[in-house]
């Protein structure tokens, strides 16, 4: 291509035309903070993990359960809590392992793959938490409703009045929708803003090798 050769000639001619940056300025630069997407993904991931881990802890049904006199349910929930801790630890380990593989010295495609893999780990963890929240909200709602002595009056009221049932179900749905809302906001922020270009470039690179 003739034009490309022409461009190359011009490109080489202008090779040394850039305003040079002094050693002093380079010193300054290396002490500044990066604003790369990896840094942003890390910050957002930590926020997400904290948020979802704590939101799971907040839905604390211990007190209610103690008053219910149903040790078998208490035991099941205790086991679930331990399983949850194990999953959190496994997640942190996998996340750290994947995060460490992100390196700018590997091929572009591998770098992109590593970033997306790290991000997916967090996504799985968030899905897991979201699932746990929904299941435990519904479960504790029904367990509390059926076994909790405080609820006896409500049960009687419900038997007499269908409207209270609708309101309770409505509140339950609103809580779940609220959690979905938070989930969706993070999802949009990450995949809509931060990762859009990376995804497009990754797809483009993969297309070349098909």
């Amino acid at each position: 291509m003739k034009e490309l050769d022409l461009l190359k000639k011009d490109w080489k001619k202008n090779e040394n035309s850039f305003e040079q940056i002094s050693e002093k300025d380079i010193y300054k630069m290396i002490h500044k903070k990066s604003s790369s997407i990896v840094r942003w993904i890390l910050i957002i991931s930590i926020l997400e993990v904290l948020l979802w881990t704590f939101s799971n802890l907040f839905i604390n049904t211990d007190d209610v359960l103690k008053r219910m006199n149903h040790p078998e349910i208490v035991l099941i929930l205790e086991y679930l809590t331990y399983i949850n801790y194990i999953i959190v630890l496994i997640f942190i380990f996998v996340f750290y392992k994947n995060y460490r593989t992100i390196s700018t010295t590997v091929a572009t495609k591998s770098l992109m793959g590593a970033i997306l893999k790290t991000r997916k780990t967090v996504q799985y963890y968030v899905w897991y938490n979201l699932g746990m929240i929904i299941v435990s909200t519904i479960l504790s709602f029904f367990v509390g409703f059926v076994y909790n002595p405080d609820m006896a009056f409500l049960r009687e009221k419900l038997a007499a009045n269908g409207k209270t049932m609708l309101v309770s179900a409505g509140i339950l749905i609103l809580i779940i929708l609220g959690f979905f809302g938070i989930f969706w906001c993070f999802y949009r922020l990450l995949y809509g803003t931060l990762l859009r270009r990376l995804y497009a470039n990754y797809k483009e690179l993969k297309k070349i090798d098909i």
Binding site: F18, I26, K32, T104, T105, T108, L111, L194, E204
Partner: protein, 164 residues
């Protein structure tokens, strides 16, 4: 990190900074964005420097980290170039034996290259830098044959942009 490491990094980077400038030129529009990307690339190079063992040349290593930063890590999205901004890139073209037609063609060519996507720009950049297809393929993580095929497609695309 030790002072010595910092010292040797800064000296080497200072000597090789044109590689980064050239990438900034291709991937950004305007002086501010150029500086911004330059800084981010410098930070990423510095972060990766402890792992640089000198089994490749500093410049080769710089190419890879700088391109990876421009394509993958850099966050600023406003990267499309307008004609006005494009002109500002040309301030340094001062040729003694000024050939109007050739100059015009080069201008159009730059404009066409700016319309390519990030990956295509990377291939063109390495082509302009006289990198062989093996290095292009290794840098991007694609096969050598496909790098050739892609480069031919890009040439076709550029022709189409020039002669719509």
């Amino acid at each position: 990190m030790s002072e010595n490491l910092e010292q040797s990094f800064v000296v080497q980077l200072q000597a090789n900074q044109n590689i980064i400038h050239k990438i900034c030129r291709l991937y950004t529009a305007g002086e501010d964005a150029h500086k911004d990307l330059f800084q981010e690339i410098t930070i990423q190079l510095w972060k990766a420097y402890p792992k640089f063992r000198g089994d490749s040349k500093f410049s080769t290593w710089t190419y890879r980290v700088a391109l990876n930063t421009a394509i993958t890590l850099y966050r600023k999205t406003k990267r499309t170039i307008s004609t006005v901004e494009y002109e500002s890139h040309q301030h340094f073209v001062k040729d003694v034996d000024y050939n109007y037609e050739e100059e015009e063609q080069i201008k159009l060519m730059y404009k066409a290259v700016y319309q390519l996507n990030d990956i295509e720009k990377a291939l063109v950049f390495m082509y302009l830098e006289d990198k062989d297809y093996q290095e292009i393929a290794e840098t991007l993580g694609i096969s050598e044959v496909n790098a050739r095929v892609k480069m031919n497609r890009i040439k076709g695309k550029l022709k189409k942009i020039l002669n719509p």
